[in-house]
Symmetry: C2
Subunit: 340 residues, 2 copies
């Protein structure tokens, strides 16, 4: 099946632009519903950071390093390089006896307004701590140090990435057809939209297996999945930052649902109370459409109040120009309705 029309941009009373995509909702009973082609292979990009963090928790490396839920939220984060992110990651590395130079994520200007203003106006360059993936990489370093593995942890043949691939294929329930190199230089394993939704449903359905004292691998995995989901939902500001859709959506759902965006129009949700996982990919990679589509699906499944301000911000509020004049609006395409 081809991609489905999901989100439209209207200007006045005419359609101006449109976004197609693939979306899958999965729960304990299997696939609940889908739009587009569930078998479409995609790169989850940053939406799968909670999967990439499984070896960190399952191996005992997280506990050995005394990581808290804040650390685990940062390991799953695409943060915007605000002080709250940069300082915590710096302290995390310091606790490992490591430093910014041990990261392999590279540096980019942080989107956080205050931090970027600080850098721009002092003519300073951003460092690797500012990289939106620095928490994920701090988790990678924690695993590497715990296992005495080599420093080039981002290489696809590094034992950490092999361990991540095994976990990724196990929770998606599919062999990965391959990987691409992500913005942070780590491999990003491909899977189908259905596979990503299945993985999110497994995170949602995970029950605490008692943590590392439980020697059963299945129990360990379930425990790790539940712990990472709780950490994300409990620390929305660490997973993204002020003003960001992930943070605002998780706050709006009161810690009951974890959501995560990924570059190129990917978004996922984990709803433990419903054992439900959601995954979607906008074909053209537009973030405005992935944010609008996940918002619509969260409302559709009763996980997000339709009248919450974040629904307006991501989907229903009129679009205004720089003089505040209403110029248009996002709309759900026919057949992609929030009502069930």
């Amino acid at each position: 099946m081809p991609a489905a029309e999901l989100i439209e941009l209207w200007r006045g009373d005419m359609l101006e632009s449109a976004h197609r995509g693939h979306a899958v909702v999965w729960d304990r009973g299997g696939m609940v519903e889908s739009w587009g082609e569930p078998g479409t292979v995609i790169f989850p990009r940053s939406s799968c950071k909670m999967i990439q963090a499984l070896p960190l928790v399952e191996s005992g490396a997280a506990d050995a390093a005394g990581l808290t839920d804040e650390h685990l939220a940062l390991a799953c984060a695409s943060h915007q390089g605000a002080r709250i992110h940069v300082q915590r990651v710096a302290a995390w590395l310091d606790g490992l006896g490591m430093a910014e130079g041990d990261l392999r994520c590279g540096a980019h200007m942080p989107p956080d307004p205050a931090e970027s203003r600080l850098l721009i106006c002092s003519d300073e360059s951003p460092c690797q701590l500012h990289n939106n993936c620095s928490g994920k990489h701090a988790g990678f370093l924690t695993w590497t140090r715990h296992h005495g593995a080599g420093p080039e942890y981002h290489q696809p043949d590094h034992p950490l990435q092999q361990s991540i691939r095994a976990a990724f294929e196990a929770v998606t329930g599919e062999p990965s057809p391959g990987y691409g190199i992500d913005g942070c230089s780590a491999p990003n394993f491909a899977t189908s939209v259905a596979g990503l939704a299945r993985a999110m449903a497994r995170f949602a359905g995970a029950e605490d297996g008692g943590g590392p004292v439980n020697a059963d691998r299945g129990g360990l995995r379930r425990s790790a999945m539940a712990r990472l989901t709780r950490a994300m939902a409990a620390h929305p500001a660490l997973v993204a930052g002020e003003g960001r859709a992930c943070t605002n959506l998780m706050r709006a759902m009161g810690g009951q649902v974890a959501v995560k965006t990924g570059a190129e129009g990917v978004f996922v949700a984990i709803a433990p109370a419903r054992g439900m996982g959601i995954a979607l990919k906008i074909v053209d990679g537009a973030t405005r459409a992935s944010e609008a589509a996940i918002t619509a699906l969260l409302v559709r499944h009763g996980l997000l109040a339709p009248d919450h301000p974040v629904v307006g911000a991501c989907l229903t509020d009129p679009l205004r120009n720089c003089r505040g004049v209403e110029v248009g609006a996002l709309r759900l395409a026919d057949g992609f309705s929030p009502a069930r």
Copy 2:
């Protein structure tokens, strides 16, 4: 006909995202070729600023105010609010005995790095001169003052906008089905992709009718079209700015071709030597795709050297992450080839 696949984003050896669109190439003989559905109605957005500037020139208002080609290039510009733009528009308004407060475009932070740094680090707010459309609006004010029309020149029922609509429908060869309000609060009249390409071909085929001394309206229009095209091609930095695709593409073509981008994935080209006009719209509104697609079409028609660095920057160079690692590339979709 549905939209055609035009531009793909590949990560490693897998397709990650894709952009569909409609593109039409027109010359003196009519439609040369097309992709997608030429009849698709779109908002040209800023790609039609040279059409919106026709009344300014045809009415004699431009000459009465002593406007130069630099002014006309700014009237057709989506500039990035650099000093070279802001100072010229400020001087233009001063020459009219008007000021920034007479503009109705609104203010937004300029993308120009130096100017935005200046504003951010001095805690100053941008003014309306920084708006990418301030040159277009200075042209609007020049027409308004010349005709003694009211100050709310951006209202759809203002005689200026009625005059623009008449010119727009004449050069596109189609009645406009309606308008939307643009980011600068002026009406933006809709037309088909074919209509926009036809209009660009008319600009390309315009011969200098001798300017305002020629009382023939047809001659006046041809003169105005030729003059605006020359002004754009002669002043690439005023039409957009350093680092911008419009500026780099026009520089690469040595003033022989005028190109103009428009929000939501629109791009047009005017090639006088060939009497050729090009118009394209990316359905999802992505600028990366509209820039890649117009580059491919300019190369395809021998207007742009395939080995020029701007072709690499807009289309063929590998995509690298913040560590300089090659992660992917843009590709032309099958059936959208630069070779003829």
